[in-house]
C-alpha cells in the first residue's frame, strides 16, 4: 500500500510536469514508458482548453489526436518506435493537413479542407508525431504581431498586467510552445515569422537555409523567401525536428539535394575557436537599450565559452527592409491571385465575373493582405518594374554578397532577433512601415537565403523575453545548433513556469 502510494506520487509528479518537458525529454519518457502518448495528448488537449483565451489555435483536433496517440502507444508497446513516436505537436495553420481544415489565418480559406498533406507534416506524421491542432497566425503569414488573423489575435503567455503580442506571423505556434500547450510546433519564416515570435515568446525558432526544407503543401506567401522551421523549447529540440523535416522533395523544384546531418550531435559541441561576427550596421536608431545590453551579454557569453568575437560590417543592411517588402509583396500579389472564388474557398456573389472577383477578394482578405497585394501589384506594373522590382533584386544580390564576403572571415553572426521585446496590445506601432521595422534583423537572412536561429537570452526589466539571432552560411545549420546550444546553456534562460493571465 505504501509502495503504491509512493509510486502514485512519483507518477503524479511526472504527469504534473509532463507538459513542460522538452521534446528530447518527452521522447525519452515515452520510450521508457514513464507516460503514454494518450496521457500526454490528453494533458495538452486539457491545457489548450484551459488556456483557450490565448487563442493559440484556430482548429483543435482532439479526436484525431487521441486516435494517433492510441496508435502510437500500441506501437510503443509493440516496440515499433519511430523517431518521434507519440510526440504531440502543434502545426501552423498554413501547412496543408489532409482532412484537417487549413485556413492560413484567412476568411478566404475558412472552410478549406485540404485533399493532400504537405511534405513537412507528412514527414512529421511518418515520424510518429501526434497533431493536436492548427495554430493561429497572421493572415497568410503577413504580420509581425499576430494581430492580422481573421480568427483573432493571439496572446503572449508571458503577459502579466498587460496583454502582450506573441510576435508573428507564427504567433500561435510560439504561444503554444511557450505556454506548454504542445511539445513543439512548426512555423514558417518569410521575413522572420519563426524567429521573431520565438524571441517575443521566449522559445527557440530556427529558419533553415532556403531549399533545405520542402515548401510543398505550405500556403505560399513569398515563394523565394518562405521556409518552414521548428519552434521549440530548446536548441536540441530544434535540431531533432529539423532532421525530420529537412531534405530534398521532388515536389519542390527549389528544394536542394544536400546531406542531412544528425543535427542533434552538434548540441553541446565546444565552440572554442569559432569566429563570431557582430555586424555594426545592426545597431539602429530606435532599438531598445535593453536589447543592446543583451546583445552585448550574448557576445560576452560566447566569448567566455571560447568563441572569438569580431566586429564586422555588412554595408548594404540598410537597404534590406525596403528590398524585402518589394520582393515579398510582388510575389504575394501573384501568389494570392488563385484565391478568386472560382474553385475553392470563400466566394461572394457578383453580377459578372469581375464583380464576383472584386467582392470575393474585398470580403475574403483582410487589410494587411490587401495592402501588400496593392504594393506588389504596383511595383510590378509597367513603368515601375525596373525602378522597384529589378532594383530590389540588385539589392538582394548585394546583401547576399555582403554575407558571403563576411563568412570568408567568420563562422557565424550574432545579432538581436528583434529591435524590441514584445509590445502590448494597443501599444503596437500604428503605421505599417514602423511595424515592418520589427523584421529589420530577420529579413536580411531570408533575402540572402541563409539559416538563422533565435535563442532566448533573458527577460528585460518588464519581464518580457528577449532573443538573440545567430546566422550561419548556407546549409550550416550544424553551426547554428552548436553555437545556439552554447548560448542557451550560458544564458540559462528559464522557460515560463505557468500562465498567469
Amino acid at each position: 500500500m505504501k509502495l503504491f502510494r509512493i509510486f502514485q506520487s512519483v507518477f503524479a509528479e511526472a504527469l504534473e510536469i509532463m507538459h513542460s518537458l522538452s521534446l528530447h525529454e518527452i521522447k525519452k519518457g515515452l520510450r521508457n514508458k514513464k507516460f503514454s502518448s494518450v496521457e500526454l495528448t490528453r494533458c495538452f488537449l486539457d491545457r489548450i482548453k484551459k488556456y483557450n483565451h490565448l487563442n493559440a489555435f484556430i482548429t483543435i483536433c482532439p479526436e484525431l489526436a487521441m486516435q494517433s496517440a492510441i496508435r502510437s502507444d500500441a506501437k510503443i508497446a509493440d516496440g515499433e518506435v519511430r523517431e518521434l513516436e507519440g510526440v504531440p505537436l502543434a502545426i501552423k495553420d498554413l501547412f496543408l493537413t489532409k482532412g484537417i481544415r487549413t485556413t492560413a489565418g484567412s476568411k478566404m480559406l475558412e472552410n478549406f479542407i485540404p485533399p493532400y498533406e504537405s511534405t513537412v507534416t507528412k514527414r512529421l506524421l511518418e515520424a510518429g508525431t501526434v497533431f493536436l491542432g492548427k495554430t493561429n497566425m497572421d493572415e497568410f503569414a503577413m504580420g509581425s504581431a499576430n494581430i492580422t488573423s481573421y480568427y483573432g489575435s493571439v496572446i503572449n503567455p508571458w503577459s502579466k498586467d498587460k496583454k502582450l503580442v506573441p510576435g508573428g506571423s507564427s504567433g500561435g505556434s510560439a504561444a503554444a510552445v511557450a505556454g506548454h500547450l504542445c511539445v513543439a510546433a512548426t512555423g514558417s519564416d518569410t521575413g522572420g515569422s519563426v524567429r521573431q515570435p520565438a524571441a517575443f515568446s521566449g522559445i527557440v525558432g530556427l529558419k533553415p537555409t532556403y531549399g533545405r526544407c520542402s515548401r510543398y503543401g505550405m500556403v505560399a506567401f513569398a515563394s523565394s523567401l518562405d521556409q518552414p522551421g521548428p519552434m521549440t523549447k530548446t536548441v536540441r529540440d530544434a535540431a531533432i525536428l529539423l532532421k525530420i523535416i529537412a531534405g530534398y522533395d521532388e515536389n519542390d523544384s527549389t528544394s536542394i539535394q544536400e546531406a542531412i546531418l544528425d543535427f542533434e550531435t552538434f548540441v553541446g559541441k565546444s565552440i572554442k575557436g569559432l569566429k563570431i561576427g557582430i555586424p555594426r550596421e545592426y545597431r539602429i536608431d530606435g532599438m531598445s537599450e535593453e536589447v543592446v545590453r543583451f546583445w552585448e551579454k550574448g557576445a560576452k557569453l560566447l566569448e567566455e565559452a571560447g568563441a572569438e568575437i569580431i566586429d564586422i560590417s555588412l554595408p548594404y543592411t540598410k537597404y534590406a527592409l525596403p528590398a524585402y517588402y518589394i520582393i515579398a509583396s510582388a510575389e504575394v500579389s501573384s501568389n494570392l491571385s488563385r484565391y478568386d472564388g472560382v474553385r475553392y474557398g470563400f466566394r461572394a456573389n457578383g453580377a459578372s465575373l469581375n464583380e464576383m472577383y472584386e467582392n470575393t477578394r474585398a470580403l475574403g482578405f483582410g487589410d494587411e493582405v490587401k495592402r501588400r497585394i496593392l504594393v506588389g501589384t504596383y511595383v510590378l506594373s509597367a513603368g515601375y518594374y525596373e525602378a522597384y522590382y529589378v532594383k530590389a533584386l540588385k539589392v538582394q544580390k548585394l546583401i547576399r554578397n555582403d554575407f558571403i564576403r563576411a563568412f570568408e572571415n567568420i563562422d557565424l553572426l550574432l545579432t538581436p532577433t528583434a529591435p524590441t521585446s514584445a509590445f502590448a496590445f494597443g501599444e503596437e506601432p500604428i503605421d505599417p512601415t514602423t511595424m515592418y521595422l520589427n523584421d529589420i534583423f530577420t529579413v536580411t537572412v531570408n533575402i540572402a537565403g541563409l539559416p538563422g536561429i533565435s535563442v532566448p537570452i533573458g527577460l528585460d526589466s518588464q519581464g518580457r523575453p528577449i532573443g538573440l539571432q545567430l546566422i550561419a552560411p548556407h546549409f550550416r545549420e550544424d553551426l547554428l545548433i552548436q553555437a545556439g546550444s552554447a548560448l542557451e546553456e550560458a544564458a540559462n534562460f528559464l522557460a515560463l513556469k505557468e500562465i498567469t493571465q
Partner: protein
C-alpha cells in the same frame, strides 16, 4: 516587291505571327496529368492544375526536350540557361491567376523557316524566339444562359510559342509560312499540328504602310485556327486598314477577333484597355540549365526535314519541284513513296509513275475513304507492283485505275487481279491491227466521211477499237496503227 495597289497608290503589308504549338507529350508541362484531347471535362486535373494552395510546379523534361528539338529543327540557338516568368491576369479558366511562361529569357533564340515567297524565290522567314509556356483551361459559355462552365483538362498543357520577325508581306506568304511550319513540326513529332483541335493556332500582327515610309500601326488578330482563316483574316484586315488610312484616319492599335462565319475581324480591346501582365521571374522554378550533351543528343534525333527531303527527291528520282514538294510536305507521305520505290531507286520512269499515282489516284481514294496515308489499304509495295505493270505496258493506265479500286477492296496483288480478269494489255501490233480492221469494216460510211475531211471522227474509231479490246489495247500502239490505216 509585292505591293497592293489602289487608286491612291501602293501599300506594303507587314505581318508577323505568334504561333502557339501544343507540345506532343502524354503529360502536362508542370504536372503529371494526361494531355488527352476530348476526355470528360475536368478529368485530367491535378491539384496543381486546379491551383490548390501549396502546390508547386515541376518541369516535365520531355516537354523541354521536345521544345529543344523544335528549336534545332527551326535553325534556332538553344540557350544554355533560360528562365520562367509569370504573366499575371485574372480569368476564370486560369486557376493560378498567372500563366507560367518565358518572357525575359526564352529557351530558343533566333531561327528561320524557308518558304516560297510571292516573288517565286525562296525566302527566309526569321524567328525572334521560341519559348515554352502552359496553356489555360477552357471557359464554356453556351451551355447555360446564366452560368459559365470551366474545363481544366487543357490547363497546364505545354505549349511552344514560336514568334516570327515581321518578315511576311502578304496573306499567301503568311499561309505558306504556317503550312511549312506545321509540316516541320509534324516531321519533328513535337506538335501534331491539328488546327481544328487547337493544337496549332496563331496570333497575327498586321500593319500597312506606304513603301519607303516607316511601318504603320499594327493590330493583332487573336487565335486564328486554320490556314484558310488566316488568309481570309489577313486579307480582310489589310483592306480594312488601307480603307481607314485612305480616308485620312489612323489605325488604332488594338487586339481583334476573327469571326469565321462572317470572314471579318472585330475589335476586342484597345491598347488603353490592354492588360498589364506584370511579368516577373517565377520564384517556384529554378533556371532551366541545359547540359550541352543533352542538346547534342537531341540534335542527333532530328530527321531529314521537308526542304532537304524535297531537294533529295528531285535530285535522286528526277521528280519535278511540284511533285517533290507535295510528297515532302508530310513525312508519312514521303516515307510511303520511298518505301514503294525501295530497291528500284534508279528507275526514273517508275519513280515518276509512282509519284503521279500517289498524288493523283491514291490521294483521291484516301480522301474518298477519309483515311490518312498511314491507314491506306494499299501497301507501298503493292502500289509499286501496279506502277511496274503500267511502266512495262502490261496494263494500260485506264485499267490500272480499276485495278487500284479492287486492290483497295480486296488487298489482292495487281498481277493477280490482271490475271483473273484477263486485263493484260494487248501490245501485239498484229492483234491490234486485226481489231482496227474490223472496226473500219463495220463503219465504212464513217471512214468515207473521215477521208472527206471529218477528222474528228478519229476519236470515234479509237473508242470503238478500245471497246472491241475491252479497253486492253495499248493506246499508243492503237493510235499509231489507226493513223497508219486511215491515212493509207
Amino acid at each position: 516587291m509585292n505591293y497592293i495597289e489602289t487608286s491612291t497608290g501602293k501599300w506594303e503589308v507587314v505581318i508577323g505571327l505568334e504561333v502557339h504549338a501544343q507540345i506532343i507529350s502524354t503529360t502536362k508541362l508542370f504536372s503529371a496529368a494526361s494531355t488527352k484531347f476530348g476526355d470528360t471535362p475536368n478529368e485530367n486535373v491535378t491539384f496543381l492544375d486546379a491551383a490548390l494552395p501549396g502546390t508547386l510546379p515541376t518541369i516535365n523534361s520531355f516537354c523541354v526536350d521536345q521544345a529543344i528539338k523544335t528549336g534545332l529543327g527551326l535553325n534556332g540557338t538553344v540557350n544554355s540557361a533560360s528562365f520562367f516568368d509569370r504573366k499575371n491576369y485574372f480569368y476564370a479558366d486560369l486557376p493560378l491567376g498567372y500563366q507560367i511562361t518565358q518572357f525575359y529569357h526564352p529557351l530558343i533564340s533566333g531561327g528561320y523557316v524557308e518558304i516560297n515567297a510571292d516573288s517565286g524565290e525562296t525566302k527566309k522567314v526569321h524567328l525572334d524566339h521560341i519559348h515554352i509556356e502552359q496553356d489555360a483551361g477552357k471557359s464554356i459559355h453556351d451551355m447555360s444562359p446564366v452560368k459559365s462552365f470551366i474545363d481544366l483538362n487543357r490547363s497546364g498543357i505545354g505549349l511552344m510559342e514560336i514568334v516570327t520577325k515581321p518578315d511576311l508581306r502578304s496573306s499567301t506568304e503568311a499561309a505558306a509560312f504556317l503550312r511549312k511550319l506545321r509540316s516541320i513540326l509534324r516531321y519533328l513529332k513535337t506538335c501534331d499540328g491539328n488546327m481544328d483541335e487547337g493544337s496549332l493556332r496563331a496570333d497575327v500582327n498586321i500593319s500597312v504602310h506606304r513603301p519607303g515610309t516607316k511601318y504603320g500601326t499594327r493590330t493583332e488578330i487573336k487565335n486564328v485556327n486554320s490556314i484558310k482563316f488566316l488568309t481570309i483574316a489577313v486579307n480582310f484586315e489589310v483592306e480594312r486598314q488601307i480603307a481607314i488610312l485612305e480616308s485620312g484616319d489612323d489605325v488604332k492599335q488594338e487586339t481583334r477577333l476573327f469571326d469565321s462565319s462572317t470572314g471579318k475581324t472585330k475589335a476586342m480591346r484597345s491598347k488603353e484597355n490592354s492588360h498589364d501582365y506584370r511579368y516577373f521571374p517565377e520564384p517556384d522554378l529554378p533556371p532551366l540549365q541545359l547540359d550541352p550533351a543533352r542538346v547534342a543528343a537531341i540534335q542527333k534525333t532530328i530527321p531529314e526535314l521537308p526542304d532537304a527531303k524535297m531537294q533529295r527527291l528531285q535530285r535522286d528520282y528526277g521528280l519535278s519541284h511540284y511533285d517533290a514538294s507535295l510528297l515532302a510536305s508530310e513525312k508519312e507521305l514521303a516515307d510511303y513513296y520511298e518505301r514503294a520505290l525501295h530497291g528500284f531507286e534508279s528507275d526514273k520512269g517508275l519513280a515518276k509513275i509512282l509519284a503521279n499515282w500517289i498524288i493523283g489516284e491514291l490521294f483521291a481514294l484516301l480522301n474518298r475513304h477519309d483515311k490518312t496515308i498511314e491507314q491506306s489499304e494499299i501497301s507501298p509495295e503493292r502500289l509499286r507492283e501496279l506502277a511496274s505493270l503500267i511502266e512495262t505496258n502490261v496494263i494500260s493506265g485506264k485499267i490500272a485505275k480499276d485495278i487500284l479500286e479492287i486492290m483497295w477492296e480486296t488487298q489482292k496483288s495487281p498481277l493477280q487481279i490482271v490475271e483473273e480478269n484477263d486485263w493484260r494489255q494487248i501490245t501485239s501490233d498484229d492483234e491490234i491491227r486485226k481489231h482496227i480492221r474490223e472496226v473500219l469494216a463495220d463503219y465504212v460510211d464513217k471512214v468515207v466521211e473521215y477521208k472527206g475531211g471529218k477528222y474528228k471522227l478519229f476519236g470515234f474509231f479509237i473508242g470503238q477499237a478500245m471497246k472491241k479490246t475491252q479497253g486492253k489495247a495499248n493506246p499508243q500502239t492503237l493510235n499509231d496503227i489507226l493513223k497508219e490505216l486511215l491515212d493509207a
